[in-house]
């Protein structure tokens, strides 16, 4: 009788162990390989040397800026389905330095992550990436970092005027990018 009671206790304890969710494990699945890679790139940008002086370095003409940007884009995380194809290098014309090109790519990627978070996509990492964005290398310690920090803080906290303005800006940019990419015969971002 006593042995049956002990066995019963062990059985109940075992069932509870597997039935009760534990923080950090049963409540959240591990990120996918793609999401983990995006998070890794985001963390690398947050610790990379700042590059917010556009005038430094050699500039490339607008006609080759897209190919130049493609060569720099591997370091910058995008949500699944994201592209940089809607950036208007050709229409803007002129020339672009490497620092400016990275800045355009990072700001564009920031907008794609902000929209992904708002839309409930890639929830396994989007919050962590948003938290790192104000530290990304193109604007760390600048006015842009302060504006993004405020807006993202509001977005994660439930919304406010700054987060609404950022979403308006990113949605408007996305609409333009879709039109531009399609006109160029390229893939628009999600």
């Amino acid at each position: 009788m006593k042995r049956a009671f002990v066995l019963g206790l062990v059985l109940v304890a075992g069932l509870l162990y597997f039935a009760i969710p534990r923080a950090g494990s049963a409540t959240s699945a591990p990120p996918s390989a793609a999401s983990a890679a995006a998070l890794e790139r985001s963390e690398a940008l947050a610790t990379a040397v700042t590059s917010n002086r556009f005038s430094a370095g050699t500039a490339v003409p607008a006609a080759t800026a897209r190919a130049f940007a493609d060569g720099l884009a591997d370091d910058i995380p995008l949500p699944q389905g994201g592209t940089f194809d809607g950036i208007q290098w050709e229409a803007a014309g002129g020339e672009f330095s490497a620092a400016e090109t990275r800045s355009v790519l990072q700001y564009n990627a920031m907008c794609q992550w902000v929209r992904a978070y708002r839309d409930g996509r890639e929830t396994d990492v989007s919050g962590q990436i948003l938290a790192a964005i104000p530290s990304w290398s193109s604007w760390r310690d600048s006015e842009t970092a302060a504006v993004l920090s405020r807006a993202i803080g509001e977005l994660v906290g439930g919304g406010g005027d700054s987060s609404a303005a950022l979403l308006t800006q990113c949605d408007a940019s996305h609409e333009r990018e879709v039109r531009y990419a399609e006109a160029q015969g390229l893939d628009s971002s999600r």
């Binding site: 005038s55 950036i87 842009t144 504006v147």
Partner: protein
């Protein structure tokens, strides 16, 4: 107190916003469009017009524009600024926190203009 408020009302229109000026020191322009080395945001106090002027009297006619930080699209219309013109030119009107870049060049055939200072009001 009421008198002060009434007088202030005569001077400042309701909802008047303070523009935030930022200076650009030693901007070098050529006939090829390039970008100033910082991004800017429309201020919360001045949300509305974004204007640009040269502080040093420009020796060349120049073209200055405001472009999107995200996709480089043009905001508003480029301002053509004549030789010797140091008055503000409206670039575009935007909402609070909108991020923009300043791009500029000298007019075709006029050569380069180096180390000139400007001011953006936003």
């Amino acid at each position: 107190m009421a008198l002060v408020a009434a007088l202030a009302g005569l001077v400042l229109p309701a909802g008047a916003a303070a523009q935030v000026p930022s200076d650009l020191t030693d901007w070098n322009l050529t006939e090829t469009t390039s970008t100033w080395g910082s991004t800017y945001h429309v201020s919360s106090s001045g949300g509305g017009p974004v204007q640009y002027r040269w502080l040093d009297t420009p020796a060349k006619a120049t073209v200055v524009s405001g472009n999107s930080c995200s996709d480089l699209s043009l905001f508003g219309s480029p301002a053509t600024i004549a030789i010797n013109d140091t008055t503000y030119k409206l670039l575009f009107t935007g909402y609070t926190d909108l991020c923009f870049r300043l791009r500029g060049r000298t007019t075709s055939g006029s050569g380069s203009m180096v180390n000139h200072d400007g001011r953006v009001s936003r």
